[in-house]
Symmetry: C2
């Protein structure tokens, strides 16, 4: 157990996770719509043995949105492009179950899985942002309803993905038989939210089905993850909190008849690394300096339904917001409110810390490597998703300073295991629900 | 006018347009899900100066569907992949306005347009196939309603595409200004079918907006094309019929205040070419021999809501079908019925001719080239979309035998004009609706 290798993903989010990362000189200012930059990041990550690229998404902006959300690639299209520009790295992206059709999403991911040779992953989100409804001609479903929809949605898409048995398509030019009708399965789903007959017009892929990522941290999100997720993208406030979360998700998997190893936990971390601890601090302060107070207040407002925080004295205690933020990014806003109350923070302190939080992983390459290993060995997570505050600088520093330290400790290999994303994540080929009991049992044994 | 160059597109539809093309030895049997084959076809076409690749689509299959529809790539994902594997050729694909959300489709095409550097095109269809409703949890809209939805849908997507003026995003690292709010336009559309606030989270592209293709041949389709389409994909029963159609579409464009040159007509043709006329006929018969009568009857049934034609005597006159086929592929089924009646054809003759129609363009390279030039010079069309019955053989023959003949007559260049799909099609940059009157007038002058 203690010698488990560290598994990594990387967020591709334009110039970086910091709201003003576009101002940082390390990368191009137009990174979020710059194909060459995406290709270059994906290839560097692949060469470094990072298991998958991860593209987040949002379906609503307004003029207060943070810059790299204003103009950006759509996940399925950019991942399909990157699949051709790379050979091994996984391709995971966000699509919302609240604002899409399961038949379309099932086949777009199936198509990505074919194009990439079995490297596709779908990050299932239910869309917290209420404004999204304004772009989709329908009301925004409330939190519990969104998760009920997502549950049925996943049952439908996974059902569609098993439409064709692995050996259903024969293509015998001599006999003229294209497929075996006994190995084609219509879904005929009729549920509370969806009626989908199927079959899907795409075969299963080299990994069986796309990997399911899940990113909601609420109780309902944990239940959904326990039932369906192969991997979970979560926060990384501290080892203890992440370990508690990890335990809860794995408990939820067991409660759904799965094993603790069937769902891998990947907290997002944004390491800031340099040759010395002081140089790393200097890098963090250079990032923090990209931001004005007004911008930090606007960023904070984004989590609270674009609440206008400029109306308050920034140096007074963090205001009592009552119900504001209860429907949107709820786990984040609850944490912000609780922390402000517990530590007696001012609005300025909350805003600056929210927009440029001090990284949990900061220091020299050896320090960051040790800390990562510590999290893994403590059972806090199975790996990490690297979401650097400044993407260009962060990835280069990480490859140069952290990966050699992980390698030196025997905890990292630049050679990805296998060919598919499931291989990379240590997950078995996804056996079809229509496969015989022998195939199911073989898969269960791993 | 008589020296206009011939503009070409190419259908990428797996092994080819013929229902049993997968059996033909010229290409791989799994072509419809074979990325390498798609890349190879797109690159050969690009090298030959073909202006765009065109990927059709369908959202419903059952076990009677023709083989290359059973398993295939989804258009937006495969086009995004091909965009990275090519440099100049345009990337056009089908998405239905009856079974999708305009915000999602607007941004997926905007993203493809960015990824490809301004080479994206959207083939707008309303989906004739009623079975599609079975996969989308909703009733199938009838013909007229589908076109009313499409009209509003296009107004919304084109409005979203103009969310950001071409110079709206500034990214000034010194001043910290990311964009000019005066140059960002919310849409605030509230119509009969859609409410979409916008703005879109993607900028305009190198060609302004993706090219709009339209493929419906009914009266409602012609009106829609006249109003919105940059290019129209149509049938090619004969020079006269296609010229009549072309005249009607261009009249419809004029009726909407546009010029006849604003909408380009591309009939689909499936040339069969060889060194001699006899060798071309032999190629046609080899293709026809890929098919049994049972398969031809099933193929025919597809146009008539999967009507079971095996119940009739194949050598009796084509049966009276009454209302069958009135809601689905209507212009095709009306034509089949009329032709059977006029020529007194048997069911067998109709089925075989429908499944493997004798190509309008068949013969030597010189013959096919002359005929294509004849169509262009007669004003029947602005170009052609090559949909070879057998893709691998067809493209190779066409490049080897027809293109040199077109070049020898000074009617073809392998150097595509400009960089964007609009450049290739002889269409101007699409000026934003929010641009000043000067820019609009400049564009109108071309």
């Amino acid at each position: 157990m203690s010698a488990r290798p560290i598994s990594l993903g990387i967020m591709l989010h334009g110039a970086g996770g910091h709201m003003n990362s576009w101002k940082h000189p390390a990368g191009p200012a137009d990174a979020s719509v710059n194909l060459d930059f995406y290709v270059s990041q994906a290839r560097k990550a692949e060469e470094a043995g990072i298991a998958f690229a991860f593209v987040a998404d949002g379906l609503y902006i307004n003029e207060k949105s943070i810059p790299h959300f204003l103009n950006r690639f759509e996940p399925l299209t950019i991942l399909s492009a990157l699949a051709v520009a790379t050979r091994k790295i996984g391709m995971a992206g966000t699509v919302s179950t609240s604002y899409s059709d399961p038949f379309t999403v099932a086949r777009q991911f199936a198509s990505l899985d074919l194009i990439s040779g079995g490297r596709a992953g779908w990050n299932v989100v239910t869309t917290p942002l209420e404004g999204t409804a304004l772009n989709y001609s329908r009301p925004h479903p409330e939190h519990a309803l969104r998760y009920e929809i997502a549950d049925e949605y996943l049952a439908v898409t996974q059902g569609l993905w098993d439409s064709w048995d692995d050996d259903a398509v024969i293509r015998d030019r001599q006999t003229g038989q294209f497929f075996d009708p006994a190995k084609l399965h219509a879904l005929n789903h009729k549920g509370r939210f969806f009626e989908v007959a199927g079959p899907l017009n795409a075969p299963r892929s080299k990994q069986g089905q796309p990997v399911i990522f899940q990113a909601g941290s609420s109780d309902a999100g944990i239940v959904l993850a326990g039932k369906y997720a192969d991997a979970v993208f979560t926060h990384s406030p501290s080892l203890e909190e992440t370990r508690d979360f990890t335990t809860r998700v794995k408990d939820a998997a067991v409660a759904h008849g799965r094993s603790r190893d069937d769902v891998k936990i990947y907290p997002g971390i944004g390491p800031v690394v340099a040759e010395t601890r002081e140089a790393a601090e200097a890098k963090y302060h250079a990032i923090r300096a990209l931001l004005t107070l007004d911008e930090a207040l606007a960023y904070l407002g984004r989590y609270f339904d674009h609440h206008d925080f400029s109306q308050y004295d920034p140096d007074a205690p963090f205001p009592d917001l009552g119900e504001i933020g209860r429907n949107s990014f709820r786990s984040t806003t609850d944490r912000i409110k609780a922390e402000a109350r517990e530590k007696g923070l001012t609005l300025r302190e909350v805003a600056l810390a929210t927009a440029t939080p001090r990284p949990t992983f900061i220091g020299t390459g050896a320090e960051v490597a040790e800390k990562m290993i510590g999290w893994i060995d403590a059972g806090a997570s199975d790996g990490f998703i690297l979401g650097f505050p400044v993407a260009a600088e962060g990835l280069e520093d990480f490859i140069r300073l952290v990966i050699p330290e992980l390698e030196a400790r025997g905890r990292y290999s630049r050679d990805l295991p296998g060919e598919t994303l499931r291989d990379h994540l240590g997950l078995p080929f996804k056996v079809s629900r229509h496969a015989g009991p022998q195939a199911q049992a073989r898969a269960a044994r791993g």
